[in-house]
C-alpha cells in the first residue's frame, strides 16, 4: 500500500494536466424542451460493445459513460466515470479511482466490478465486438474469454487496476471509446442478445421508447452524475427519413437536426441562401479520403510510379466536384488531428514531373490498371476525375464501381490495384495519430482481409510507431507527436497512398437550437453532442 501511495504521488503530476481542463457551461443554457433528429437508416444497436456506426456512436455516448471522456466540442481528454487515475512509472499499470454515487438507469450504484465486467465482456470473443482489438494492450487479452481479462483487477468497490502487457500512449483514449462503456451485468444478462435494443447505462439520457423502423426517444436522466446536464428533456430520433425530406421538414420547422447532413444535391441551394446558411455550422473532422496503391502489384511496386500518381491527381478539382465540402490533403493525417505536419509540402500537382517519373520507371508509355470505387454518389464521379488525371500521364484506369462490401472485400484480399476510399474512408476512432496508422498503413493491417489496402508494410516505420506509442508519459507528448509526424513523412516518401482530401463537416440545425458551434461539429460526438446542446 505504501508503495502504491508513493507511486501515486510520483505520477499524480502526469494526471493533473488532463484533470485541469474541463468544460465551462454556457451561461445562456436553458433546461427543458425536446428536439427531433432524423436519420435515413434505422439504428442497428445501442449496445456499446457492438455499435460502430457514425449514427449510433453519439447516441451511445449519451446513454453510457466510460472511465474517460472528452471535453465537449474538443479532442481533450477528461475523466469520466473515473474521478482520477494514475499511471505507474513504467507506464504499465493504470489505477482508476471511481466516482462515488454514480447510478445506472436501473437505479443500482456503479462499482469497480461493473468496470471489470464491461471490459471482460467487450473482449470476450463470444460478444463479437468490432472494437475488441482496441484493448489488445491489456494483459491477458490473447486469452480473453468467459474467464475475463487477467489484466483488469478490482482493488476495492471504487478502484480498478488495469495492467498492460506493453506501454500504450493511447490507452486513455481507448478507455474513452464507446466500447469501454460501463454496463450493468444484470441488465445484460436479462436482455441477452437484445441488450442493444434495451440499453442500460449511466449516461445523461436513458432510452424511453424504441419503435423499430420509426423512432427512438431518449429521456433526460434526472439522476445524472454530472451536475447541470443534460439540458434537454427529450431527444427524439426519427429514422427512415430521406435526407432530402429531412431538409424539407427542417425548413418547415418539424426537424431540429437532420442527422445525415445536407444532401449533396441541395448543398449549393442551402449555402446560397443567407438565412439557411446561417443555420449551418462548419467544422473539420478526423477524416481523410485517399487512393490506395497496392504496392505488391506491379507496376505499383515501383515507388516512382506511386509518386507519379501522387503528382498526377488534381486534388483541387476533386474538391470542386463535391461542392468544396473538403480541403485538399497532402498527408494521411487530417489537419485537426494532433501530429498533423503543417509544414509538410507533399507532392504538388505537376503533370510534367509525374511523366518524368513514369519515364524513369520505364513506363513512359503508361499502363492499364483498375480503380475500385464504391458505387454511391459522388464516388463514381470522383473516380472519373481521377481516371482523367491518370490518363494525362498515360495510365488507363478502368473504373470498377461496386457495392461497399465488395470493395472492402477486394481491398482486404489485395486484388484491387487502386481503390478510391470514398464512402469507406478512415474517420478516426479517437483523436490520436496512431489511429491512422496501425490498421490502414501498418504491417498489422496488411495481411489477408486487413484494412491496409495498399498492403504497405515497412518494418522500420512499424518500429517507430511502436516506439511512439510506448511514450505514455503525457509530458513527452510533443516528442511523441514529432515521432508520429516522422512516421507519416516516411509513409509519404514511399507513397502507398494518394491523400486526396479532408472532408469538412456541415451540420444544419433549426433556429431554436442553442449551444456553441463546437458542440455541433464535436469531433467525437457526431453529429451533435446531445448532452450539452439546448433549446433557446
Amino acid at each position: 500500500m505504501t508503495k502504491w501511495l508513493t507511486s501515486t504521488a510520483l505520477v499524480l503530476t502526469m494526471a493533473l494536466p488532463a484533470l485541469a481542463q474541463d468544460y465551462t457551461p454556457d451561461p445562456n443554457a436553458k433546461a427543458g424542451g425536446a428536439i427531433t433528429v432524423t436519420y435515413k437508416d434505422d439504428v442497428a444497436t445501442l449496445d456499446p460493445a457492438i455499435g460502430y456506426d457514425w449514427q449510433n456512436w453519439s447516441m451511445i455516448k449519451s446513454l453510457f459513460d466510460g472511465l474517460m471522456d472528452y471535453v465537449p466540442g474538443t479532442t481533450t481528454l477528461r475523466p469520466g466515470l473515473a474521478e482520477s487515475y494514475d499511471i505507474s512509472p513504467d507506464g504499465l499499470v493504470y489505477t482508476f479511482k471511481l466516482r462515488a454515487g454514480v447510478k445506472f438507469h436501473n437505479g443500482r450504484e456503479m462499482t469497480a466490478e461493473d468496470v471489470k465486467y464491461s471490459l471482460d465482456r467487450v473482449t470476450d470473443p463470444a460478444t463479437q465486438s468490432p472494437g475488441a482489438g482496441f484493448f489488445g494492450a491489456i494483459a491477458g487479452f490473447e486469452a480473453a474469454g468467459t474467464a475475463g481479462l487477467s489484466g483488469v483487477e478490482v482493488v476495492d468497490a471504487a478502484t480498478v487496476k488495469i495492467t498492460l502487457s506493453r506501454p500504450d500512449a493511447t490507452f486513455l483514449h481507448v478507455m474513452a471509446l464507446n466500447f469501454a462503456s460501463v454496463v450493468p451485468k444484470e441488465a445484460v444478462d436479462a436482455a441477452g442478445p437484445d441488450f442493444g435494443k434495451m440499453p442500460v447505462g449511466t449516461g445523461a439520457f436513458k432510452l424511453a421508447e424504441w419503435t423499430l423502423g420509426l423512432r427512438l426517444v431518449f429521456e433526460k436522466n434526472a439522476d445524472y452524475w454530472r451536475a447541470g446536464v443534460p439540458y434537454l428533456d427529450q431527444v427524439v430520433f426519427e429514422v427512415g427519413q430521406e435526407p432530402v425530406v429531412a431538409l424539407l421538414r427542417l425548413q418547415n420547422g418539424e426537424v431540429d437536426v437532420p442527422g445525415d447532413g445536407i444532401p449533396p444535391a441541395k448543398f449549393q441551394e442551402v449555402m446560397g441562401d443567407p438565412a439557411q446558411a446561417a443555420q449551418v455550422v462548419q467544422g473539420g473532422q478526423l477524416h481523410t479520403g485517399y487512393i490506395t496503391l497496392n504496392v505488391t502489384q506491379p507496376p505499383f511496386d515501383k515507388v516512382e510510379v506511386r509518386q507519379a500518381v501522387n503528382m498526377a491527381v488534381n486534388k483541387e478539382r476533386i474538391t470542386q466536384i463535391i461542392n468544396g465540402r473538403a480541403l485538399p490533403a497532402n498527408q494521411p493525417l487530417p489537419p485537426t488531428m494532433p501530429g498533423y505536419a503543417k509544414d509538410y509540402a507533399g507532392y504538388a500537382y505537376d503533370v510534367e514531373a509525374a511523366k518524368a517519373l513514369m519515364a524513369k520507371a520505364g513506363l513512359a508509355d503508361g499502363f492499364e490498371t483498375d480503380l475500385y470505387v464504391m458505387n454511391t454518389d459522388p464516388n463514381p464521379r470522383i473516380a472519373q476525375a481521377i481516371q482523367q488525371d491518370l490518363a494525362a500521364i498515360g495510365i488507363k484506369a478502368n473504373i470498377q464501381s461496386l457495392a461497399q462490401a465488395n470493395v472492402i472485400e477486394a481491398g482486404g484480399a489485395g486484388t484491387a490495384p487502386m481503390i478510391w476510399s470514398g464512402g469507406m474512408g478512415w474517420i478516426a476512432d479517437f483523436p490520436d495519430p496512431s489511429n491512422f496508422y496501425g490498421p490502414i498503413l501498418g504491417c498489422a493491417g496488411a495481411g489477408e482481409g486487413g484494412w491496409n489496402w495498399s498492403k504497405f508494410c515497412d518494418a522500420s516505420l512499424d518500429a517507430k510507431a511502436v516506439e511512439a506509442d510506448s511514450m505514455y508519459d503525457p509530458a513527452k507528448s510533443p516528442d511523441r507527436l514529432a515521432l508520429w509526424a516522422e512516421v507519416y513523412a516516411g509513409v509519404m516518401e514511399q507513397a502507398p497512398w494518394v491523400p486526396v482530401f479532408n472532408e469538412e463537416r456541415y451540420t444544419m440545425k433549426s433556429e431554436r437550437m442553442g449551444g456553441e458551434d463546437a458542440l455541433y461539429v464535436d469531433p467525437v460526438s457526431i453529429p451533435v453532442n446531445y448532452d450539452y446542446v439546448f433549446v433557446k
Binding site: Q128, G133, P193, G196, K197, L212, E238, G240, E242, Q251
Partner: protein, 306 residues
C-alpha cells in the same frame, strides 16, 4: 377443390424452397464477407476467425444451408448479424406497415386504373382516349423516386394538406398510397381499356342495349363484371412488381416497412435479414397468386379449379 388447394400448397412450398436456395447460393458466392462487416476495421485476424466459427460461416455451403432450413421449418429466421435481433421480430414489427401500404396502394391503383380504362374504352379513338392512354404511358415510365418526391413536395410541403412523410394516421397513408396508385395505374388502365372494348362488342351487350337499358346500367352491370376478370389475375402477378416499387416509396415517405429493412441489410451483407425479407416477399407473391386463382371461380362460374 380440396385436391387443387393441396396441390397448390405443395407447389407454393416448393417455390419458396427454390427461392431460399437460389438466394442462399447468391449470397454465398457474393464477393463480400459478412464477417468483415461484423468484425469491423479494428479486428485482428483471430477475431475474424472466431466470429466466422461462431456463426458457422466456416462450414461448407450445404451444411450452412441445411442448418438454415432446419431452423426455418421451426419458424426460426435466425438473428441479424449486425443488430443481433431476431429477424422474425424485425420483420413482424415492419410487416403490418408494408401490408397496409400495399393494400391501400393496390386499392388506389385499381380505382385510378379501372376508372381511366373504362373511360378510355367508352371514348375509344377520340381525344379523351388518347389523353388517358398517354397519361398511363407516362405514369408507367415515370421514375418512382422523382414522382414520390414531387408528390411530397406539392401536397405536403407547398399545399400542406398532408404530413411530410411519416407513419401513424390515415393522413400519413394517403400520399404514399396515391403515389403507388399513380405509378401502377397505367398497367391497369391499358388492360381494362382493351378488356372493356372487347366486352362492349359482345352480343349480350348489344342485347342489353336493345332491351333499352340505360348506358350506365349496361356498362356497370353487364360489361364491367366481365371485363374485370383478367384484371383479377393480374393483381396476383402485380404484387411482385409492387414489392419492388414499395422499397422506393417507403424510403421517400419514411414509411417503416420491410423495404427499408431490406435495403439496409443489403448494404451490410446481413444475410439473415436478406434471407428473411426475400422469403416473406416471395410468400406474399405466392399467396397473392393463389388468392387470385381461388377468387376467380367466384367471379366467373365458368372457371373450374382442378
Amino acid at each position: 377443390m380440396a385436391a387443387y388447394f393441396l396441390r397448390r400448397l405443395i407447389q407454393s412450398a416448393l417455390i419458396l424452397l427454390g427461392v431460399s436456395f437460389i438466394t442462399y447460393v447468391l449470397l454465398f458466392v457474393l464477393p463480400a464477407d459478412p464477417v468483415r462487416q461484423i468484425a469491423g476495421r479494428a479486428a485482428t485476424a483471430q477475431t475474424v476467425e472466431n466470429i466466422r466459427q461462431q456463426l458457422g460461416l466456416d462450414q461448407p455451403f450445404l451444411v450452412q444451408y441445411g442448418r438454415y432450413l432446419a431452423n426455418l421449418v421451426q419458424g426460426d429466421l435466425g438473428r441479424s448479424y449486425l443488430q443481433k435481433t431476431e429477424v422474425g421480430d424485425l420483420i413482424t414489427s415492419r410487416l403490418p406497415a408494408t401490408l397496409l401500404l400495399m393494400l391501400a396502394g393496390i386499392a388506389a391503383e385499381l380505382v385510378l386504373g379501372l376508372t381511366m380504362g373504362i373511360a378510355a374504352a367508352l371514348m375509344r379513338g377520340r381525344f379523351g382516349d388518347q389523353v388517358l392512354m398517354m397519361t398511363s404511358f407516362v405514369t408507367v415510365s415515370a421514375p418512382q423516386f422523382v414522382v414520390s418526391l414531387l408528390m411530397l413536395y406539392i401536397f405536403a410541403v407547398k399545399l400542406g394538406w398532408f404530413p411530410i412523410g411519416g407513419y401513424g394516421t390515415a393522413a400519413h397513408l394517403v400520399l404514399p398510397a396515391v403515389t403507388l396508385g399513380i405509378l401502377g395505374s397505367g398497367w391497369y388502365s391499358r388492360m381494362m381499356r382493351s378488356s372493356m372494348i372487347e366486352v362492349l362488342r359482345a352480343d349480350y351487350i348489344r342485347t342489353a342495349r336493345a332491351k333499352g337499358l340505360g348506358r350506365a346500367r349496361v356498362v356497370l352491370r353487364h360489361a364491367l363484371p366481365n371485363a374485370v376478370l383478367p384484371i383479377i389475375a393480374m393483381i396476383g402477378i402485380d404484387i411482385g412488381i409492387f414489392m419492388g416499387g414499395i422499397v422506393v416509396v417507403e424510403s421517400v415517405f419514411g414509411w417503416p416497412g420491410i423495404g427499408q429493412l431490406a435495403w439496409q441489410a443489403i448494404q451490410r451483407v446481413d444475410i439473415p435479414i436478406i434471407m428473411g425479407v426475400t422469403l416473406v416477399s416471395a410468400l406474399a407473391i405466392v399467396v397473392g397468386n393463389l388468392l387470385a386463382d381461388l377468387i376467380a371461380p367466384f367471379i366467373d362460374p365458368r372457371i373450374r379449379l382442378r
